[in-house]
């Protein structure tokens, strides 16, 4: 409604630059956290990250490789509630709780690395295409089109399969495939932002193209990327779990997907715990990031509200 009048300036106290920027940030944060579901998601994430960090404290790390599930041949397929194994054990004596805790570390590592790498590649490619335009745009977008013509999961699968079964290779495969959407997102935003008159004004000021990109175009184009990155922190773990579920990770890895796969066999015989608990973790992780991502989007980009 254009008729409603806002508050004038005179009432606000005078603040220095840092105070102003800080307040803008806290205002935004408060807005995001006002949403109960977003807050819930954030709490879950914080919880999981803490667990991941405190893994060596919460459990005794396996030797020599803490990321391998410990095998206790004396405690096979124990149900939850057995002393020493609160959530039960797997078919080769691995403690499910151990698997969950160390699995969260693996998942955190996966999502942080993959999202960082894909956002970086995607933003660089998309920025070059969007900002420079012309032939560069065409060439880069054709490359993007090639990537898009192959379903992401299958592509990642193929790469991982070729490179050999290891979780490190899964991380590599996902990084090589999932950058494309960021390129498109930021290219679209940049093309849109470029049309604003403040970009023209910056040109008239005489600033260099690079500076204009850095100060005017990029900061106003990143919000959708941030939202998407948050959502991807959740969904990448899902994809990683899928790939490791079908056997592309090392056997015996303390990783949620591997555990689900391992525990599959037992389900028909009533041994539900070895799959269910890790599966629940995957679900929680993805859900939590989705909630936070949606909350962010509602605040940063109100036009696409999910309500």
């Amino acid at each position: 409604m254009t008729d409603v009048v806002g508050t004038p300036l005179s009432a606000a106290p005078v603040e220095g630059p840092l105070a102003v920027r800080l307040r803008r940030f806290t205002d935004l944060a408060r807005q995001v956290l006002r949403n109960k579901t977003t807050l819930a998601g954030l709490i879950v994430i914080v919880g999981m990250v803490l667990v991941a960090f405190l893994a060596p404290v919460l459990t005794t790390p396996n030797v020599p490789d803490p990321y391998q599930m410990p095998r206790d041949w004396g405690a096979l397929n124990e149900p939850p509630g057995t002393p020493g194994h609160i959530l039960g054990t797997t078919s080769d004596g691995g403690d499910v709780l151990y698997g969950i805790i160390w699995g969260s570390r693996v998942s955190l590592r996966l999502s942080v690395i993959v999202v960082s790498v894909t956002v970086t590649i995607g933003v660089i490619v998309g920025s070059l295409a969007g900002f420079l335009g012309g032939k560069i745009d065409e060439i880069l977008m054709r490359i993007v089109d090639v990537f898009l013509s192959i379903p992401e999961l299958i592509f990642a699968l193929a790469i991982a399969a070729v490179l050999g079964p290891s979780f490190g290779n899964i991380i590599l495969a996902l990084s090589m495939v999932f950058w494309v959407k960021y390129a498109r997102i930021i290219r679209g935003q940049i093309i849109h932002v470029k049309q604003n008159e403040y970009v023209d004004a910056a040109r008239i000021t005489g600033d260099s193209r690079f500076n204009i990109f850095l100060k005017d175009v990029l900061p106003n184009s990143v919000t959708p990327v941030m939202v998407q990155a948050t959502l991807d922190m959740g969904s990448i773990v899902l994809v990683g779990a899928t790939l490791s579920f079908i056997g592309l990770a090392e056997a015996g890895l303390a990783e949620w997907g591997v555990l689900v796969s391992k525990g599959q066999v037992g389900i028909s015989t009533g041994r539900w715990w070895a799959s269910t608990f890790p599966g629940l973790m995957i679900f929680l992780w993805a859900l939590a990031f989705n909630l936070v991502g949606d909350g962010l989007r509602d605040v940063l980009d109100p036009k696409t509200e999910s309500r």
Partner: protein
Amino acid sequence: MTVVSSAASHLSETVAERAVISLRGVEKHFPIKDGALQRVVGQVRAVDGVSFAIRPGETVGLVGESGCGKTTLGRCISGLAPTTGGKIYFRLGDDAAARLDEIEAIPEAERSQDQLAEIERIDAGHRIDQLSGPAWKTYRRNCQMVFQDSFSSLNPRQLVKDIVGRPLRVYKEASGSELTERVVSLLESVGLGRQHLYRYPHQFSGGQRQRISIARALALDPEFIVLDEPTSALDVSVQAQILNLLHELQQERGLTYLFISHDLGVVRLMSDRIAVMYLGEVVEQGTALELFESSRHPYTDALLAANPDISSETTEMKGLSGTVPDPANPPEGCRFHTRCPVATPACGWEVDDAVDWLQTKETLLGALIDVERRTNFDATLVFHDVDSAAAVTTAMAEGDIPAAMKGALANLARDGTKVRISLTPVEPVRLADVGGQHLTSCILHTGL
């Protein structure tokens, strides 16, 4: 270095013998692409041959409605968009301009090597698309712009201090606390203050944002500012404040303005000389007084008639009917003739006008299958059946086509379902002087 130079520095004696900006035959065409391969199928002639000069210390008003090319021209002059034809000069001396006039009057093939070299020399020193290094910097610093939309012309993520101080940083004129003080002084000169330094654009009203834009434009103490509809988006009372401010700043600093607007009342108040644009061309040009008291072009008259003047009691608003020609294919003659209430047969009636007139005769338009065009003035219309062709011929010969178009009809012949029409071709219109630098392109006034 003083922050505010006196009016004298921009208007010293030597300066008075040059123009700030000189336009010579400036064109800006945009390609129209079509098809999967994006081939260029035509050009939108947004600016199609504009020439005038802006002298130091004056305000030139550029007036016209949407699509006339004034904003595009403003962008070309401020260096945001490269021209596709013609030349824009910065600080071209009067004698150099005279030399160019002389040499360009000679047909290209007959110009001597010396003359060509002279043009090159002048161009290299003054054409904005050929300047480089320090000359470019001088132009860039002295030619600033204020935009229409105060919201989108300020980066929403930058503080006012950074926005206004940016030009100083780019040219490394100041930093740290000196920069802050310069910015404060700029803010104060536009009616804002120190308390506004660390705020974001969205916290200000439209009028205040426009003041910030103006402060930014003044940061480097420029000679010339392009004002692209600076108050069109503002309320009347805020507009008054901003216009008063612009005038005050001009007086204090000896600024030169190009004031682009569609609002005649504002342009009349703020301009010394005015150029009226229509469909990419200047149709009339003169002092504000000349244009408002004795306009010499029907389009200017139409604009005046359509703009209600609050101080007059007895105006009746009148608008224009008729269609605006396609900017990709404008008429060869006067571009305004399709809507002109006083058009004559010699104004440049074309085949397209006849077809457009058919549009108003619904049944006849449906029967038209094809137009075989020989020139813009000579074509054969092919109809579906003989009756329609006959009806059209009769209508054109005796019926209700505009008298001016009828007068231009040189030949009208029917052969079965085909009707051949040809109209008297005309020369393109030119601006001609009708008395002391008052130029118009209307043949009713120039007698051409």
